[in-house]
């Protein structure tokens, strides 16, 4: 980790809603994937995490949500230490998480999937269902359909909808555009922006770095489990080093 970036992180993150300090984490003992990552998000921000394959983008997101064990470092939400907390307890504390794969319950209907989203407080269902179906109108008409019969893009909508049912203050999205056609990818990015506009803080991990940097407020470029660059979406998208190393020809064109 570059000390400058870490100092900058400490200076700026005092009032952050969610914050990760100097995370070291991995799946197998002795093989860390994160080598001291920092991240913070202020209330209402849209944060992007990009980087090459194997940089630890998804691992960072999972570490925030307690799905990967954090060996050292700390994750806090509004100052409360939530490091390694169980996922369902994090949902109680208003964090939502949408995994990249297998992100719907296939044998449940769309409606039941959304019901599971507010499992901890079913009284929220009616209001939340209205709110979510205004973001994703297609879901309302097909509420009785089994989620297992949906296409990848439709599943992504259900998954994001479900994560929003508890009215979370932060939502973590793991590569929502992966495996989708370019048209559907655009659709997903528009939806993510829409969700953020409703006041929800969003942290998004993306393979499609160029597209991601267009919509985010701030971005983190990860390399080998460390923060390589941070900055606003626009500044990163225009940074020659970032373009050279991570955006490649796609961004130049």
């Amino acid at each position: 980790m570059t000390t400058d970036l870490h100092q900058e992180h400490i200076d700026n993150s005092a009032k952050a809603l969610i914050k990760a300090d100097n995370l070291i984490a991995g799946y197998f003992p002795g093989v860390p994937i994160l080598n001291g990552s920092d991240l913070y998000a202020n209330e209402g921000e849209l944060i992007g995490i990009i980087g090459p394959n194997g940089a630890g983008k998804s691992t960072l997101l999972k570490a925030l949500f307690g799905l990967v064990k954090v060996w050292s470092g700390e994750v806090t939400l509004r100052g409360e230490n939530i490091t390694n907390m169980r996922a369902d307890e994090l949902v109680t504390r208003s964090i939502g998480f949408v995994p990249q794969n297998n992100n719907v319950f296939p044998s449940l209907t769309i409606e039941e999937n959304l019901e599971m989203g507010c499992y901890q407080d079913p009284s929220k269902f009616v209001d939340s269902f209205e709110r979510v179906s205004s973001l994703f109108p297609a879901l309302k008409d097909r509420r009785k359909q089994k989620a297992g019969s949906l296409s990848g893009g439709e599943r992504q909508m259900v998954a994001m909808g479900r994560a929003l049912m508890m009215n979370p203050s932060v939502i973590l999205l793991d590569e929502p555009s992966a495996g989708l056609s370019p048209a559907l990818q655009d659709e997903v990015f528009i939806r993510v922006k829409d969700i953020n506009k409703t006041g929800v803080t969003v942290i998004i991990v993306e393979q499609n770095a160029a597209r991601c940097l267009q919509i985010v407020d701030r971005g983190y470029v990860l390399d080998q489990g460390q923060n390589a660059y941070t900055g606003t979406g626009r500044s990163l998208a225009n940074d020659p080093k970032v373009i050279e190393l991570y955006l490649g020809t796609l961004a130049k064109s």
């Binding site: 719907v104 449940l108 039941e112 479900r162």
Partner: protein
């Protein structure tokens, strides 16, 4: 013309053949060692006096006649294998003994047995003609009753598999221990069955279901034990529990001290005991409640969500361990009900769970692993199939037919009858 003639004969036999003969339970019998007792009456229920009965083995032959009330009682000099036969010539003209005929093999382990001989109008030639056809309704009904019992056990097995991925080889012992819990309360403590059964269902749900998960499976899951290792643990647990039951309760089959022997009812030519009928109704109501609960309740939906994807369920805010805990409690309850049903209809033995386990596995596989209705549909199908297989296969092979179906299903429709292939992407 031949066919009309045959149908008339069948109809005549089916209509005229009623039950009878029968019964009388423990209190009325003076026998306290090996021996047989029972009662013989004509199809209208009138007792038949003076019917000759013989109880014989290689060494001894004991003969007796029914008294004025149609009752008979023969003491055997020792335990072992005997042949019981009724001298058909001493029956009133035109009457025969219904299936399985006037001659029976019987083995005494300890204590007396009650034998049921039904009489029916007709000659033995008639009997042979209608034998196969009139058997089918009876076999189907027997199969349905058996299938419902299996469904209770298979439902729990399927739910536990679905939510935890555990192939639980010790599920059969949940049936055994449920049945023995009721036997302890009923026979040893002396509680009436109407109290002992509900009480043992609750005890079994918490002790054999909830506590087993809490103190064995949950710690194993927390340690990240693999599914294969857990399956081996379940095999070890099954053996431990099975032989513990043998050590504690002994090897001979036990009966509850109520409802042990009961006169059969004749419903459209199908014999069914009131106790079997009542247990079947209880099973149907229980299964309906469980299915409704899975479909509509909050925990039921969460159970299906956990079955679909435990990690996602957790990330969605569901406390997965809590759901699994509910499932084990329910599994213990359902298995105990299945075990007690078998105990009431047949007897309670240390090996009962072992025998039923493979049939439950076959049912779950047939219906579709992890699907809600799978266990029910599979169990009913297997139950009927096992009974019907006795038409063409020797009785000894009837369980084999269930396992054969399981193998065939795995070859040709691995997702089971109700299982669906899922859309990918």
């Amino acid at each position: 013309m031949i066919r009309v003639f045959q149908i008339r004969r069948i109809l005549k036999s089916v209509l005229l053949s009623t039950i009878f003969a029968i019964y009388i339970g423990s209190g009325a019998s003076a026998l306290d060692g090996p021996g047989i007792s029972g009662k013989i009456s004509d199809p209208d229920g009138k007792p038949l006096a003076g019917v000759a009965i013989t109880l014989a083995n290689n060494e001894n032959t004991i003969q007796g006649l029914t008294d004025a009330t149609g009752a008979f009682e023969l003491a055997a000099p020792s335990a072992g294998k005997y042949t019981v036969s009724i001298d058909v010539a001493t029956l009133p003209a035109g009457l025969t003994i219904a299936e399985p005929g006037p001659e029976r093999e019987i083995t005494f382990v300890q204590g007396p047995k009650v034998l049921i001989f039904k009489t029916q109008v007709g000659t033995s030639a008639d009997q042979v003609a209608v034998k196969r056809d009139s058997k089918i309704p009876q076999l189907v009904v027997d199969g349905l009753l058996f299938g419902l019992t299996i469904a209770l056990g298979a439902m729990g097995l399927n739910l536990i598999f679905g939510t935890t991925g555990l192939t639980n080889f010790s599920h059969g012992e949940l049936l055994t221990y449920g049945a023995f819990t009721a036997w302890t309360l009923n026979y040893l403590v002396g509680l009436n069955m109407l109290i002992a059964v509900p009480l043992s269902l609750v005890i079994s749900a918490f002790l054999w279901g909830w506590a087993q998960n809490r103190y064995l499976w949950k710690p194993l899951r927390r340690r990240g034990t693999g599914l294969m290792a857990m399956m081996i643990v379940s095999i070890g647990l099954a053996l431990t529990l099975r032989y513990s039951a043998l050590a504690i309760f002994g090897g001979s089959p036990r009966n509850y001290n109520q409802y042990a022997a009961q006169a059969g009812l004749d419903i459209f030519g199908v014999a069914i005991t009131p106790k079997a009928l009542i247990m079947a109704i209880i099973a149907i109501i229980t299964l309906a409640i469980v299915l409704f609960w899975l479909k509509n309740s909050k925990i039921g939906k969460a159970t299906r969500a956990v079955r679909d994807n435990p990690d996602l369920a957790s990330a969605t805010g569901i406390n997965v361990e809590k759901v699994i805990s509910y499932v084990w409690t329910l599994g213990g309850f359902l298995a105990a009900l299945a075990g007690i049903t078998v105990g009431i209809n047949q007897d309670v033995s240390w090996r009962m769970g072992q025998i039923l386990l493979l049939i439950m596995f076959a049912s779950v596989t047939l219906g579709g692993l992890g699907t809600i209705y799978g266990a029910l549909v599979g169990a009913i199908t297997i139950g009927v199939l096992i009974q019907l297989s006795t038409l063409v296969l020797p009785t000894e092979l009837k369980t084999v037919s269930a396992l054969f179906v399981m193998i065939a299903i795995l070859l040709f429709r691995p997702q089971g009858i109700l299982g669906k292939r899922e859309r990918v992407g």
